[in-house]
Symmetry: C2
Subunit: 201 residues, 2 copies
DNA sequence: TGATTTCTGGAATGAATGTTCCAGAAAGAC
DNA sequence: GTCTTTCTGGAACATTCATTCCAGAAATCA
């Protein structure tokens, strides 16, 4: 790092750091921390073993960076969905619906990476717990703003503590994602969603 | 096994199988499947390494048996709490309250073993997924019966699809347990519980 | 071209893993 | 006492793991 500033003539990195991190995230997302081996990561990231260690540090450090990336990418999606003009209730139905459909589709059921990380590591790894907390707070905030807008636009009644409702919705989303890992029964998942969203009425 | 039936003269098992399994369950519950080493299991179970393999088979098989035990033990607790005569709403408040207090106490936050197992393995291990499903169905049934009683006794209104509400409550419990792994903020958790239980009003 | 740095692939390392083998002690049934 | 079986502790095994080392090829900039 220092030498490059002093005498900057060398080969550039060939791979795209973000793209490699994205791939790493997918592996950790599917397999979890412990079950994901460095060999697997190397293969899916498409970079050299040495490059992995040079660029991201060790496995644990890479995991935390993957968590950060997940938050950015998925957080952006959540944000965009909820800030989109139009019915807030409709946006929430869509949000929960995406989870249900992802579970019923033939693909892999990875759940929520942050939820998985919380379940697997938060009790044991302070950094993971902090990142999970941060993600929770960010999602809660996005939900809260959406609810505020819903109230402002008359779609949501004023009798509720919207902060509490936002927290409830985040918790429900995590519960649903967990359920969706265990069952592919559409009726069950839709029951959960229907009752969850009924608190907005 | 066969020889014992033909010629039953030998030493008896010295340790209590259920007790050892209970200990194994605690290890898996705290650490998850991958992170729990056989060495750790041997130590906490208080039995010999060989006895572990003789009695429970390999690590994976032991894990599945621990899951079964969890379901029996915790399932019984859930059942007893919900079947206890008196207010159903009160019982549910108590149920959710236990989770909140466990999270705020100084102890380890293990969450729900079945939830942990679902998160870590259900996507990859069919047997785990099936056991998780079974547990879900059993808990749902207990909740459903409690709700039916609440309706019969006039505590819960008749407008609801109680099957759906039972599923919702189970999902919420899982969501809450996950949240409780990441945060120790009482207000946050109580917000979630309050909104969750408000669907019964 | 020459200097310098990074990339790449593979080998090497050392620790930890799950599992099995062994030999002796202990305890029931005859 | 004599079997027979299980228990116990420890060693042995093979595999996998995360991580590091190495040497050559590639690429940048002077």
């Amino acid at each position: 790092l220092r030498t490059r500033l002093i005498d900057p003539m060398a080969r550039h990195k060939e791979f795209d750091r973000d793209e490699a991190l994205q791939r790493a995230m997918e592996v950790f997302w599917s397999r979890g921390y412990e079950a994901a081996s460095v060999g697997e990561l190397v293969k899916h990231m498409g970079i050299n073993r040495q490059s992995l260690y040079d660029t991201f540090g060790d496995k644990h450090s890479l995991y935390l960076q993957a968590l950060d990336r997940y938050r950015e990418v998925e957080g952006r999606k959540l944000f965009e969905l909820l800030e989109r003009p139009g019915s807030v209730k409709r946006a929430l139905r869509q949000l929960f619906g995406v989870v249900v459909e992802a579970s019923l589709g033939g693909g892999e059921r990875r759940g929520c990476f942050v939820g998985n990380a919380t379940s697997e590591l938060a009790g044991r790894c302070r950094e993971t717990a902090e990142k999970a907390c941060g993600n929770m707070a960010a999602a809660e905030e996005a939900l809260y703003r959406a609810l505020l807008r819903g109230k402002r636009e008359g779609e949501i009644g004023g009798g509720r503590d919207l902060r509490a409702v936002a927290r409830f919705l985040y918790s429900s989303l995590q519960g649903l994602q967990l359920m969706s890992k265990a069952t592919r029964d559409r009726k069950t998942l839709e029951d959960v969603v229907r009752v969850t969203l009924s608190v907005l009425d």
